[in-house]
Amino acid sequence: MTHKMKIDGVEVTFSEGETILEVAERHEKDIPTLCYDPRLEPFGGCRLCIVELEGARNPVASCTTKATPGMVVRTATDTIEAYRKTLLEMVVSENREVDVSPLRGYASGELANLRDKYAINGTHITGAKSGTRKTDENPFILRDYELCISCYRCVRVCAEQEGDHAINVMNRGFHTQITTEFDGLLKDSACTFCGQCIQTCPTGALADKKALRAADEVTNAMPDKTRTICPYCGVGCSVDVLTKDDKIVGIHPAMDGPANQGALCVKGQFAYDFVQHPDRLKTPLIRGTDGELHETTWEEALDRAAEGFQKVHTEQGRHSIYGIASGRAPSEAAYLMQKFIRVGFGTNYIDNCSRA
């Protein structure tokens, strides 16, 4: 059932259950947020998404307020924008730095983007800084709480999306600190190193250590992104491969991936660098008369491969040759493998690696 409400003077329709923020975003209103991740239950912590609601004494958080018929909402009045700017100045003042490498995580530039949008240069607010960096020698997740703004997105993504409940909060008020059970290492917690916390963090407090190691953190330029599918299990999660100068430097989950909607696991998130490992085969190899494999050219290797099949075919017949297709290579490879056997030898002597 659809209803009507007014946003910034324009009548719009919405469905039962939608929040003001959701309706406004659908109508291309640019409401700032920091604690909001559309995949998570609304939290209402950062208060940046406040809007003016006719009839309400104070501004309301649009992420937690459900739209109701007849509502009249103003999203960007001078007062609201002034409140937002002050809130942002307070947040910015607490953090060690705001400009962080985009390789820290998918959302790590959110705070910097808002600071620029609201033209905050320096701040008149001084005072205590955010929590302290946690030493954790794990190779994947940097825990740089000096950049934490207590938006709880990491806590919520771990609980609501991943179902692992590895990340907790200790203390209250200004001393709030994101941590794990018993304030220990991630390795000793329920953490599965899926990296979801890194990717939802809006400040880079939780960051992709591996990506930071892989690329020079000094350059804050966005890496190139290529949309593809994870190379591991059969779930088929969509990912964006991050590259700089032909080097893979990291992986971002695709928030609109049809099979994963932004989720990944430790393998998809972090086990990508086999691709550019020095062990990769770089040239064809053929076995020499000395019994060893030797590097050679494509011409020679392909000739040798073909001659071997030709010889066995001639001497032993067409039922002496067998093909095993890969479950890892794309379908074009499997298709041509079966075509090679069927067209070439007229047999069905073809299988793939699914039986073991």
């Binding site: 179902g163 085969l281 064809p284 290797a301 392909l302 690696c353």
Partner: protein, 525 residues
Amino acid sequence: MSNPLVDMQKPDVIFCIGTNMTECHPVAATGLKKAIARGAKLIVADPRRIGLAEMSHLYLPLRVGSDTALLLGMAHVIAREGLIDEDFIEKRTTGFDEFFEHISQWTPEWAETITGVPAKDIETAAMWYGRANKGAIYYTLGITEHICGVENVQSLCNIALMTGNIGREGTGINPMRGQNNIQGAGDSGALPNNYPGFQSVTDPKYQAKFKTEYDREIDLEKGITKVTALELCGETIHAMLIDGENTLLSDPDREHCEHALRSLDHLVVVDLFLTETAELADVVLPATAWGETDGVCTNTERRIQRVRAAVPPPGVAKPDWWIICQIAQRLGFKGFDFNEPKPIFNELCRISPIYAGLDWDRIEEGGYQWPVPYKGHPGTPMLHEEEFVNGRGIFSNVHYRDPAETISDAFPVWLTTGRRLASYHTRTQTGRAEGIDYLLPEESLEVNPDDLERWELTDGEWCKMSSARGSINIKVKATNRSPRGTVFASFSFADVPVNLLTGSGYDPVTHTAELKVCPVRLEPL
């Protein structure tokens, strides 16, 4: 999978059997966790107390290889309690009366004697699943890697058909595929019994079609499976082309496998690394990897998705399709003059009815799940909605069979094998990913703490594990994840080649190896 992945959040009752989903398909498992948070009940049947078992509302710790008995017992209770969907059985199935008669003898008390699962828990599981409005089954290799893999799957079909838990949202029989394109490899016809698109090689209609399409006579009978081919190496099989598989480590009975590959006159391996298998080859051809190759993959829910190159390959590595074309052209084979992947995929679509509505450009966004029978068809997220492919769902009067080998005085311990979260198959990839060793540096044998004394083992020390086929040394790890009398190891680490021991038997229909059951003996080192 009969149902799409998004359905995983929707069932009332979820029955997971033989699937270690939180480790092997972690992102799919997040859907189950959401369903549980929403109030769904989770039943887990697995010999090991895996992560899913810890999350479950009812855990059925069955003895390895006893799945058919458990499922017969559940079917008995569903029938006895009148939890069958009579309307569904009448309209959509065949053979129920005989099946009803068949299962009357297989009581949960009988099933307890085989499985070790208390009869009352089998009853509870049957009642929960039988009473569910939406009951969904998820399984993986714990069901299929047995000599009775076919009976296990048929047993799951039986309980789904009895209760009408198929063809609707949040229900279904859902096998989780283990490799990024294992579904696509089958779709593409890399099977001894099917042409591309699962068109049977023994059906005269398709025989005629492919005779025309490929312009030559092709055998009218099925080919042999890989398992049979490996057995015949050196006898009738003398040459092999292996693309991207580390057969030596991933397949059972490594010694037999190595002997087989060594006895070939000609072995060509296409791969990314000089794997244990490639080391035996006469010719090794370097392929481009994930991230370097444009192409198409199909996931476990039959979703057809584009993979894309992001970086150039090392050295002179080439895409698999290019390599196969080059060999084929040298042999004078027709139809291999491709210069890019697009026309190859389009040819696959043209000759496969399940892909008929697709082409390279249409799958850009990954929006289709097969079958897509014609252009304009939206795809088929859910199978079996109106009718089954073969018309009616067939009840199978299955019987329980013991595993190929059972424990004895010589080999008194059940070994079951599998995978772990941080490693993938034979570690050709994850073993070369920096940081993974921090989470999983080595393989270990999971042993119940109460069994240590009995077998004179020490936690953290090495032991010798032997089966009828060989012995390996492996470090002992005491954990309650293993039940008493059963131990677990993965086959991922080359220095702990667990598949030296496995290979006791194969399913007679699918030739899938019984990798989940292998009696062994443990001795301290």
